[in-house]
Symmetry: C2
Subunit: 215 residues, 2 copies
């Protein structure tokens, strides 16, 4: 009797293989053929889930968005305030293979989203979800007294998400920016500048949040 296939699970696995290829060899190398070679599934099996290469890449984008959303949910459950804020913002800075794949697939589609309305709306929803998680972490930090109460959480969230994404994009184009990202966390630096508005002694120390590895 043939084994029942969990199609959602297989689709997810195919997308994970795709993201591995993207992190190691870039978007250009991410083809149905390459996923087949690497996964052991035939191109026919992969074709059952994705009609063509563009469809496969779009699957990779959706998987990347899912990975980031899961990361953010997990962070908000396990960390608090500024530590959560930093983890959410650093979740897509390309400092390891996994995050490099997420960046490459997102930035590939950002360009397309500027000319294709359906895709733009999809990307808009991902950006909104990201800002919402960041906004929640900022509100938590404010409630705990780690960030000044007078800051507008939504506005700060949009800026910090823009900072993280802008630097990530630049780091993929310019090795000097990448080297700088590896050396210092810009996210931590600017969050400290926000906390600097607090009365002396209440500001977050630079080293305080250093122990949390990005998961």
């Amino acid at each position: 009797m043939p084994r029942l296939v969990d199609h959602n699970e297989r689709r997810r696995q195919i997308c994970d293989v795709l993201l591995d290829i993207v992190s190691e060899a870039g978007i250009g190398a991410a083809t149905i053929r390459e996923v087949a070679d690497r996964s052991g599934w035939s191109t026919g099996v992969i074709g059952h889930y994705f009609n063509n290469r563009q469809d496969l890449l779009l699957g990779g984008l959706r998987r990347a968005a899912e990975i980031l959303a899961e990361h953010n949910t997990r962070v908000l459950k396990t960390l608090e305030g500024i530590a959560a804020l930093e983890q959410i913002l650093e979740g897509s800075i390309p400092l390891d293979k996994r995050r490099l794949a997420l960046c490459r697939i997102f930035f590939f589609f950002y360009a397309e989203g500027m000319t294709e309305e359906d895709l733009r709306q999809e990307l808009e929803s991902y950006l909104l979800g990201w800002r919402k998680s960041v906004t929640r972490a900022i509100r938590d930090a404010q409630a705990q007294g780690d960030l000044p109460a007078e800051l507008d959480p939504k506005r700060i969230a949009a800026d910090l998400v823009g900072l993280a994404d802008g630097l990530s994009i630049h780091s993929l184009l310019d090795p000097r920016v990448m080297a700088q990202l590896r050396e210092h966390s810009p996210v931590r630096f600017w969050i400290r500048r926000l906390a600097a508005g607090l009365p002396a002694g209440e500001a977050v120390e630079p080293t305080q949040a250093k122990n949390y590895a990005v998961v």
Copy 2:
């Protein structure tokens, strides 16, 4: 006797027509045919300067980079310190038609630069030039006592350029980010957070730099 044609000037004019089309109708509408229709030059004349559409778009990118470099040089000659810093950083935030064209053409090529090495190097040189202008403005502001001397100008420059570019990209994908950019200048907000490290009374007031229109 035929009139002598200044080929550099004509090339520049063709690229300016292209950028007009990009700002009004997007990259998708920017074709040799459309430039011909709008400029009155034949497709044959345009073909003398640009082999194909990709070549024409690349011409648009180079013209955009030239416009930004000229903007930055002019700003550094006419303004000082924090005012110069703000003008350089806001020079490519898409709040008017001209800057919208610059953003669209740059972000279109950012995606390509991630897979094509020649293009990546070219974009890297533009990013470096931008950061250098910002770094110079930061050093000037430090010399005048408008920004704390202990800040690392190069690092702050990379962050602010990342912030400006990241928010610009997000604003083209998400109308909420665009609305927010129109309402408040994130560049000014974060520069004030840097200045907040100064002793009371020396920090730059929010309104101080509002009179300079982006040129």
